[in-house]
Amino acid sequence: MLVQDFLENSARLSPNKEALIFGQQRLAYQQIDAMANRLANAFLAAGVQRGDRIAIYLGNSVETVVALFAALKADAIFTIINPSTKAEKLRFLLNNCRASALVAHARTHSILHSVCPQVPSLRYLVTVGSLPRPIGDSSLSIDTFRAIQNHSPAHQPPARAIDADLAALIYTSGSTGLPKGVMCTHLNMTSVATSVITYLENVAQDIIINVLPLSFSYGLYQVLMAFQIGATLVLEPGFAYPYAILNRMAEEKVTGFPGVPTMFATLLELNDVEKFKLPHLRYITNAGAALPVEHIRRLREAFPAAALYSMYGLTECKRVSYLPPSELDRRPSSVGIPIPNSEVWIVDENDQRVGPGVVGELVVRGSHVMQGYWDNPIETAKSYRPGPLPGERVLYTGDLFTMDEEGFLYFVARKDDIIKCRGEKVSPKEVENVLYSLPEVAETAVIGVPDPVLGQAIKAFIILRNGKPLDSEDIIHYCRRHLEDFMVPSQVEFRTELPKTDSGKIRKASLR
């Protein structure tokens, strides 16, 4: 099965069923399928080849959903880039995956003007809206999304991809500071989507709201899974307006609500959240980071009709485990058992399996274990190591866990110093690299500190060069210009020295 079959099968079986609701737009499966076919045919006409990378630099929108399926229908690999990504990183990502086509919003024109000419692989740009002035690069052909929808043919192009081909690259933060593109085959993605649907018991009558960014695998799979079962997805641009989301959930009779702890903490801070009874809400899922036990209790009080699933996963295999809601009272701090059709074990530093109650690194086996990092054999070899069968690879998660006697998993800590802020991974190194590009900064260390809403807040310790006057607002402002929103430090502390190890490295443990 291919990922685009999710859309094509639903378009065939229930062509008029509402597939996607976004703002005032309500689109049926056959409409989305036709839109995706038109864009796929435009990609093919522009010379996109099987296995080419197509980058989608857009926020949550109808165009993003259409573009990802269009890329697949053109036998290409899609990658969705967070719309708050700044020019330097966008250039890095496009060159890293050697994108041949880019779909972007015309209002990012100043970024596109600076970045596109510096991406030699790029041949085709599709803009949502019209660019105010053309990009001065004669090798780049440019169309608008609207023109393609008006003029490109709607027939389905013949699929040549097979399920062993890559369907997507999903970029994730790496401890080196450079993002890594996780290579996902069609088989990986359809396997894990099927597994998650199985334990959530999703059905075609489900109406799932998604406020998570589609650049994030947790958000992306809400589209894939909804389309696989022929359900309805209510897509939101984000979670900025909690009351608007609650009203939307009530109006649309939403049955499924995936979120991260930051969102639930925000909801629980509203003084009348329990007034929104949301009787249709069948389940809430949490992933990205652990939900505090107290928040679990209050969420269940606020939404008594909904089953709450605590889950754990990482982009490298999408999802690892889930806690069946019936176990929540007995083991509120557990992230549960392996997802259907997968297995996990815990190993010590010598790669020996350990028994219950012993802390070690979690290892994951199954058809959802992705293929490694794009163009990065060194990092791939660290995380994806030989498994029990010849040629098989299993995922070393880099996360420390314990397991109880009955096989339930408990997250302990990360092995590296990656920060989890708002459910997304942030590489301290990536933030430090930006801070070091400020000439006034002599030395810096970035850590995560506990925060009741963010999970971890990003805190930067800074030593300024002698006499340089910078305040924390200057630092945060500079970071906003160079980093995605979720990577910007919320706390800055100036120091005259930082604790060091004997070898001269900054001792981050002493800063926490």
């Binding site: 926020g59 984000g238 003084n271 402002h477 929103d485």
Partner: protein, 94 residues
């Protein structure tokens, strides 16, 4: 400086938006602000214009573009003024 201009100045300084931002462009859809950004906008509105923003008022209709936010702030300022006038009237009548 009128309310729109103050908002635009804040956005340019804080959210790195292009100078030619349309006053009706959706902040959220254009990726200008995310959920933390909205909280910053609320603080900005409260501190700069001396208004009290109720949680229920934090909805796209009030906060999602320069024009919507300016209209909301102007309305809150009018409400605050009329309240203080009615308090004064009350004080006089006592």
């Amino acid at each position: 400086m009128d309310i729109q201009e103050k908002i635009r100045k804040f956005l340019c300084e804080y959210f790195i938006v292009e100078q030619n931002l349309d006053n009706d462009a959706s902040f959220l859809e254009s990726g200008i602000v995310d959920s933390t950004g909205v909280l910053e906008l609320v603080l900005f509105a409260e501190e700069t214009f001396g208004i009290q923003v109720d949680d229920h008022d934090v909805i796209p209709d009030n906060f999602d573009s320069v024009n919507q936010l300016a209209a909301y702030i102007a309305r809150k300022q009018r409400e605050a003024t009329s309240e203080s006038v009615s308090i004064q009237e009350h004080a006089i009548s006592c």
